[in-house]
């Protein structure tokens, strides 16, 4: 009975809204004997009603959740189809939409209760993203938002497919050249400096407060200057990225190197271990969680910085270039497809780092627990 309780309210609301929506789509015109029906929304509400009724009885099994999910998807398809023609009966339309959202929510809830965490985590995030995109599509179509303001996800997807070659070139220019090089250099230098500075308390005391101060400086502001100094191609972007990522890497790595507790240091001291051995076997491993934190923060920062820097001057390629140029040409789907490329690249980099972090700092309590 537990699964029933958790979604009971949702199920009831789904049913009520779907029923309300359904009845309203059948217009009975008393002056004329024949009745007209908006078929698509009717089918949508029917699907939703089935979902709601089924949910009352279905156990939390993968099979059942799948069936419910498929029905909900069907409903969403019908709804979108009717929106494309015209949403004649706007209030009823939104009633069905709300019940659709509720049953989508229901599906997600069921997935959460799945025992296999790793799989359900992926499915839930993906489904949630899907529903957000769906609602975006729906709202933009129904409210007839001009394409130059906000394109639909379908248009963006289309632009993504038709401009693959161009976007690939931009990706190479921005991500492979500017970001990867700047990111590796910035973080590498930051970590190396941390190791150097850590040895000298004088440098540590002199540098650390200043390095900390830089976190309050809007460093992207140097982008126009970097373009002036390092030219229009990727070196200027890489330079800004180095600057932006250097200090967080330095500060975190330093904190990490100093995070070993006194006992561990004294243990090494009592063994008369050399500095390099202590660094290799104690300080660096202990610093890894901190370093990975900086790497993760920096990954998003590097990408955004590269794109900002391209606004101030670039060769005729690059994601930032594409976004600004196509925005001016009012090709918003292309703009958004470039944004998609950028954030997919960023998310993948982030995911890669999370994966590496799990491998490298497997011993850390926060990761052990998960």
């Amino acid at each position: 009975m537990k699964h029933y309780k958790s979604g009971a309210l949702l199920i009831i609301f789904t049913l009520v809204f779907a029923l309300l929506g359904l009845t309203q789509f059948i217009h009975i015109d008393f002056t004329e004997p024949n009745l007209t029906i908006d078929y698509m929304p009717c089918l949508a509400s029917l699907c939703l009603i089935i979902v709601a009724v089924w949910s009352c009885f279905a156990a939390v099994r993968f099979k059942h959740v799948l069936i419910i999910q498929v029905l909900t998807l069907l409903a969403s398809y019908f709804l979108l189809k009717s929106a494309e023609h015209e949403a004649s009966n706007i209030i009823q339309f939104w009633l069905v939409t709300i019940s659709l959202i509720l049953s989508a929510n229901l599906c997600l809830k069921y997935f959460v209760e799945q025992p296999d965490v790793a799989v359900s985590q992926l499915i839930i995030a993906a489904l949630f993203g899907f529903w957000c995109l769906y609602l975006w599509q729906l709202i933009v179509t129904v409210l007839q938002v001009p394409q130059v303001l906000l394109p639909t996800p379908v248009a963006i997807g289309h632009a993504l497919i038709t401009n693959t070659v161009m976007l690939w070139g931009d990706f190479v220019q921005t991500v492979i050249k500017s970001v990867v090089i700047g990111y590796l250099l910035g973080n590498g230098l930051g970590i190396l400096s941390a190791i150097v500075i850590e040895r000298s308390s004088f440098l540590r005391r002199g540098f650390l407060p200043l390095a900390n101060l830089t976190s309050t400086v809007p460093l992207v502001g140097v982008a126009p200057i970097a373009v002036m100094w390092f030219g229009f191609d990727w070196p200027s972007k890489a330079a800004v990225i180095v600057l932006v990522t250097y200090f967080p890497a330095l500060v975190s790595a330093l904190a990490g190197l100093q995070s070993t507790n006194k006992l561990e240091q004294e243990l090494m001291h009592s063994y008369a271990a050399s500095y390099w051995f202590t660094l290799k076997c104690l300080r660096l491993p202990a610093a890894m969680p901190f370093i990975f934190n900086a790497l993760k923060v920096n990954s998003a920062l590097a990408l955004i910085t590269a794109i900002v820097a391209e606004y101030f001057g670039s060769p005729t390629q690059g994601l930032g270039f594409r976004i600004s140029v196509e925005a001016a040409r009012m090709h918003m789907p292309i703009v958004w497809s470039a944004i998609v490329v950028a954030s997919v690249a960023g998310s993948l980099l982030y995911a890669l780092l999370v994966y590496l972090e799990r491998r490298v700092t497997f011993w850390h309590p926060a990761i052990r627990k998960a």
Partner: protein, 310 residues
């Protein structure tokens, strides 16, 4: 009093002096309109603004406006302020460029953001393929690439960037410029555009006519009194970067582009110029600006005629 919102394309500068003058000197009020002037910026597209119904009328360049039409924003030109184009390519003489054919193998700074179409048209005419024969940079809206030796030529407006180079210490004889007007690739610059569905509404047309009348009066005044116009513009600049000397000079140069000022053809869009621009955009090299000839649908004289009657 009718309310009108005008979206400019760029930061407050003498390029837009006429509108500011009309507002400050009360010409708009005299004609019974209350005008709000929204300054623009690098990435504020007036087209987006008007599509989002945040402006009634925008200042735009014709290539940009026609491209927007194809993206589904039905812009129509109701008046053309600038009869001549101020855009040009300015090169360092030391790079050895004397004629357009010398551009081969050089690095050229180009303004994007809707301003790149005439350039590509020109290159197509010269049979220079971007990326192969010439190297192109997306130039920011400043002249540093030329000063720092990063480009051999840069895009410049003859009323603005050219003088920035001079202010930076370059001598006139160190520079050579190729005005697009002379190269036969000029397109129509600052014009006033509205959404065509609005024109079906007579009240809107009347309102716009009043607005045009005020605008023309403002421009006529600005052309005659460049110093005063510059003062008004500087007062409008919230960034505190505009200076009187620069803006006065810009106003004087802008005046040369408005050849119809203080005539009864002020603001009149010559159909010939309109069609010439369209023809150029239809075959501007690899960069397709517009694919379909809009015919006469992107222009109207209705509002202008109504304005001139007053």
């Amino acid at each position: 009093m009718d309310k009108v919102t005008l979206q400019l394309k760029w930061v407050p500068q003498a390029q837009f002096a006429g509108y500011y003058v009309a507002k400050e000197k009360g010409f708009y009020k005299d004609h019974g309109v209350d005008v709000t002037i929204k300054p623009g910026g690098t990435d504020i597209s007036p087209v987006q603004v008007i599509a989002g119904h945040s402006a009634d009328v925008i200042v735009d360049w014709m290539p940009d406006a026609l491209a927007a039409r194809e993206s589904g924003v039905p812009l129509v030109n109701i008046a053309q302020i600038y009869n001549r184009s101020g855009m040009m390519l300015t090169c360092k003489k030391s790079s050895g460029i004397k004629t357009p054919s010398d551009l081969k193998g050089k690095t050229l700074g180009v303004w994007y953001g809707g301003n790149e179409y005439p350039f590509f048209n020109w290159m197509a005419k010269l049979h220079l393929t971007p990326g192969k024969d010439i190297h192109i940079l997306k130039q920011g809206f400043n002249v540093d690439p030329l000063l720092n030796g990063q480009a051999d030529c840069i895009s410049a407006m003859n009323y603005n960037e050219y003088w920035q180079l001079i202010d930076a210490g370059m001598k006139k004889d160190q520079l050579i410029s190729f005005p697009y007007e002379d190269e036969g690739v000029s397109t129509l610059e600052d014009g006033l555009y509205v959404l065509s569905p609005n024109l079906k509404n007579p009240a809107f047309v009347a309102k716009m006519a009043k607005f045009l009348a005020g605008t023309f009066e403002g421009w006529n005044y600005a052309v005659k009194h460049p110093k005063e116009a510059a003062k008004i513009v500087v007062a409008q600049d919230m960034s505190g970067a505009a200076t009187l000397r620069v803006q006065t000079r810009q106003m004087e140069n802008v005046a040369k582009l408005i050849t119809y000022a203080n005539t009864d053809k002020m603001g009149y869009l010559e159909p010939d110029a309109y069609h010439r621009t369209i023809k150029m955009l239809l075959n501007s090299g690899q960069q397709t600006v517009i694919k379909k000839d809009p015919g006469d649908s992107a222009m109207t004289h209705v509002v202008w005629e109504l304005a001139m009657k007053k």
